[in-house]
Every structure is written in C-alpha cells, then in structure tokens.
C-alpha cells in the first residue's frame, strides 16, 4: 500500500488561447498508507483535476506529487510504471466496448505484467466474484447495466494489484438504484485497507468509510478534517453553505 503526497499543486488551463483558468490553486494534500480520503466540493472546483493529476492524466502547471516518495511530477519518472501501480476508476467507466468483460480485466495483466492467459483469467474470475459479477465474464460491456459496468471497471483496476486507487466520481453517471451496488464494492475495498482517493458526491460513503474529507472550492482546498468534524462542525462558511445545500 502506498502514501500519496500532493505538494503545492497548481493547474492552469488556457481557454481559447487567452483566458487562463486556474483549475487548481496551490493545493497540498496527503493520503497516508491505507487511508481513504474523499474530496468534495461544488462542480468546477478542481476536484477531478486534482485527482487526475495524481497519475498524471492532467499535467500540473506547478507543484509536486509523490507516491511512496517517488516524484510522479518529475519528468524522468517512468509514468507508465506509476500508472501500473495506481488504479483509476472513471465516472464514465471507460470499459473497452470491443472486449468481453473477462478480456477487459485480463488485458493489462497480460500485456503489462506479462501474466499468462490462464492465470490472468483465474485472477479475473476471482475479482469478478469479489464484485459479484462472475456470471457476466463472457458478456460485452454494452450488455451490462451502468452499475455492473462500474463494478467491472473496479475489478479491471484491481487486476493490476494497485498500491492505491483513485475514483473520479464513480457513481455520478449511475441511476440511483445502482449506486449502492458500486458503493458496497468500494466500502469493501476501504475495509481491506486499500489506499483510496476519491471525488464523490456520496456523503453517506464519506461518512461511513472516509478517514478524511477534503472540501475544495474554486480550485482551492478550503478545509479538511475527519468526516465527523466536517459534517457536524465545518470551520469555514463556504464548507458550511455547501454542506447545507447537499445534505
């Protein structure tokens, strides 16, 4: 398991060649080994950008990110290796539509870890069992519901035996009745002691599983604390008004 450290991270986007948008401003955050950290905040507050910077899907403008003391933001770092060790789950699942569920999961272990087909499939079936979809191994993603697809996506990430997992609004694209099945899988992961960094609007999950909740607004980290503190006695007015709106 791993420790993620984000130091003074900033990310600017240049829109239409002139206007600069400061998506993330000087954000620092630490996720300790085995911790579950949830980032909350209004849309457009830079949560996803911050999360996506951790495995460099977004290249930060300035600042540093360390995973287990390896500087991810260092141009000399082998990014592929870092990404191999950090799992990521997307809002839109991003399963590979041309492959079966089984092949979706075995692709990376076989091509990246050079696992042989039989053991990769064995691993995949174990993971599918874990997310409750063993009978869907031969299906194609478009034959599954959103919740099922997201569970497959989680299994696909887990197949790489990642040190840490990133979740980018994993339940936002789901119908309400499917959210729970995904959250249950995530809760189980959290209980297993997986290091997790999430962006989510599921306050119930944050309350139940998070060690730390971070509130972001307009690119800045406004405050962080235990879910208990954050939800009952938020220090900042902005946190308070955000929570009032969504709780």
């Amino acid at each position: 398991m791993a420790k993620i450290e984000i130091k003074n991270l900033s990310k600017d986007f240049v829109a239409n060649g002139i206007k600069t948008v400061h998506a993330v401003k000087n954000a620092s955050l630490t996720v300790n080994d085995g911790e579950v950290v949830v980032i909350i905040g209004p849309s457009g507050s830079g949560k996803s950008t911050l999360l996506r910077s951790v495995n460099m899907l977004e290249t930060p403008t300035s600042g540093q990110i360390f995973i287990d003391d390896i500087e991810v933001t260092d141009p000399k770092t082998d990014l592929r290796k870092v990404r191999e060790e950090v799992g990521m789950v997307f809002q839109s699942f991003n399963l590979f539509p041309h492959l079966t569920v089984l092949d979706n999961i075995t692709l990376a272990p076989r091509k990246v870890l050079k696992m042989d087909k039989a053991s990769a499939e064995k691993l995949a079936l174990e993971l599918l069992e874990k997310v409750g979809l063993k009978d869907k191994a031969k299906s194609h993603p478009n034959q599954l519901s959103g919740g099922q697809q997201q569970r497959v996506a989680i299994a696909r990430s887990l197949a790489m035996n990642p040190k840490a997992m990133l979740f980018d609004e994993p339940t936002s694209a789901l119908d309400p009745e499917m959210i729970k099945e995904v959250l249950d899988v995530m809760l189980a992961l959290a209980k297993d002691g997986t290091t997790m960094l999430l962006v989510t609007h599921e306050m119930g999950f944050a309350r139940a599983a998070a060690d730390k909740v971070v509130f972001m607004d307009s690119g800045e980290i406004i405050e962080e604390g235990s879910p208990e503190e954050m939800f009952t006695h938020p220090k900042s007015e902005r946190t308070k008004s955000f929570l009032d709106h969504i709780l």
Partner: protein, 285 residues
C-alpha cells in the same frame, strides 16, 4: 446506440463524400457552409428516396445492358465479351490497391495523431502533396518513377501508385476514426499501465476499424472507378479493353456505352453491399 451513431456521422462528415453537396441550414446566417463530400451515395433501408433512386438506376442499367446484349448482339455481345475480360484486372488492381491504401492509411493516420512532431509533419506533408495533385498526374508520375528507379513491372507499379494516392485519403479516414474514439478509452488504457503503443494496438485501433469500415467500403468503390485511370498505364482493365476495341472497329459510342454500363452496375452493386454492411454494423451496436 446513440454514441456509435454520432461517431459514425463524425467520421463521415470528417472524411470524404465529396459528391454530395449540402447546405447546413441549422447554422446561423453568417457561417452557413457548403460541404462537399465524396464517394458514391450509399443506399440504406431507412433512406427511402436514395433507395428508390438506387433501384431505378440499377434496373435501368441492367435492363439496358442485357437488352443490348440479347437483342442487338451485333455488335454489343462482342463488345461486352471483350470489355468484361478487363474486369479481372480492374478487380485485381482495386483489391490489391485498397489493401495497400489501408496499410499506408493506418500509418498515416497514426502519424497525424502522433505526439511526435516530426512524424506528425511527415504524414501531414504527405497528405497535402497527394491531395494537391490530380490523381492521373500522380499515377503516371509514380508509375514512371517506379519503373525507372526500381524497375518494377506494370501491374505492381500501378497498384503501388494507386495505394500511395489513396493512402493519403485513407490516412484522413483513419485519423478521423481514431479521433472519434472517446478520450476516456486512451485514458483508461494508459491508467492501467499500458504504453501508448499498446493502447493503440489493443484498445483504439480495433474500435477504429469498426467505425471506419463503411468509409473504407466507400473508398473501395471510388477506387474501382478511379482504377480506370490505370488504363493509361498499359494495363488491360475494362476501359483499356474497350479502347483497344474502338481502335480496331471505330465503334466508339457503342463501346463506351457498354464500358459505362459495366462500371455503373459494378459500383451500384458494391454501394448496396456497403449499405448492407453499415446496416449490419448498426444492428450489432
């Protein structure tokens, strides 16, 4: 699926049906554009108007050809027999060249989405070069160049020349196809630790192939027509056979009528086949 449909439209509009001229009325007054697209019209079940015109044209052409051959065997039967002997050459050139063009097109397409600036530029310049020179000029030029510097014989030189010419357009199709695949696919693949190359091979290109298949079908039909240009290169294709016959008998109008009808029937059959292929792909999502 909705997603697939929008991808297909994107590929179609981005690539090349130059023949159909359409005015996009949905845009506001100032930016009204006229887009020229290429390739034959592909009749599909849903498009009634197209389907009807396809049927009418096909049956007129077929009836005309059969009628002439059966009821006016002199000279049409002989003309038909002479010209159709060129069909194997036409097909051989077209099929080999489309394979060559797809091969070149995949590399050109990958080149134009490459993050490597030089590779990017090379494929860009190649596409510009090819698009700016008339096909016939290119064909003759490449044919002679190949003959002089590499001593390659006629048929193969013609195939290579056509492949190079169509490879540029195919490259654009592949590029559009790659860009039509949602960004999340590449992100998901690289987030799993795959290299960009692996991601292309296992994730992006297989999906691209499905998206661009109808466009390749269109290209095939265009190429079948343009392959008549190789008759300039001393290859005995349908047109060449016809012209040889004319030089023997001076029956120019009759011969060209048969040649035209043969090409028309071939392209109409092929365009319907491409239409069926598209319908099939739609059904399978």
């Amino acid at each position: 699926m909705d997603n697939n449909k929008s991808i297909e439209t994107l590929v179609k509009t981005e690539t090349i049906r130059k023949r159909v001229v359409s005015v996009d009325a949905s845009k506001d007054e100032k930016v009204k554009t006229i887009t020229m697209t290429d390739g034959p019209l592909i009749p599909k079940k849903g498009e009634k108007h197209l389907m009807t015109s396809w049927r009418i044209t096909f049956f007129i052409a077929l009836a005309l050809l059969l009628g002439l051959v059966i009821f006016k065997p002199d000279p049409y039967r002989e003309i038909f027999i002479v010209c159709i002997k060129g069909a194997p050459v036409t097909f051989e050139v077209t099929i080999c060249a489309i394979i060559g063009a797809v091969f070149i097109g995949v590399f050109t397409g990958l080149g134009s989405v490459s993050k490597h600036h030089i590779i990017n530029m090379i494929s860009g310049v190649y596409v510009e070069f090819i698009r700016g020179i008339p096909l016939l000029v290119q064909l003759i030029f490449i044919y002679y160049a190949l003959g002089r510097f590499f001593h390659i014989e006629g048929m193969i030189a013609a195939i290579i020349a056509l492949s190079i010419c169509f490879g540029a357009y195919m490259g654009e199709i592949v590029r559009a196809g790659i860009q039509a695949i949602p960004k999340g696919q590449m992100e998901a693949a690289t987030a799993l630790g795959l290299t960009r190359t692996q991601a292309f091979i296992y994730v992006i290109l297989p999906q691209t192939a499905k998206v661009i298949l109808p466009a390749i079908g269109n290209e095939f039909i265009s190429m079948l027509k343009d392959s008549s240009l190789v008759s300039q290169l001393a290859l005995a294709d349908i047109l060449r056979k016809g012209r040889e016959y004319i030089s023997r008998t001076f029956l120019s109008l009759e011969t060209m009528l048969v040649v035209a009808l043969i090409y028309l029937i071939l392209t109409l059959v092929l365009s319907r086949l491409v239409g069926l292929l598209e319908e099939r792909l739609h059904k399978n999502g």
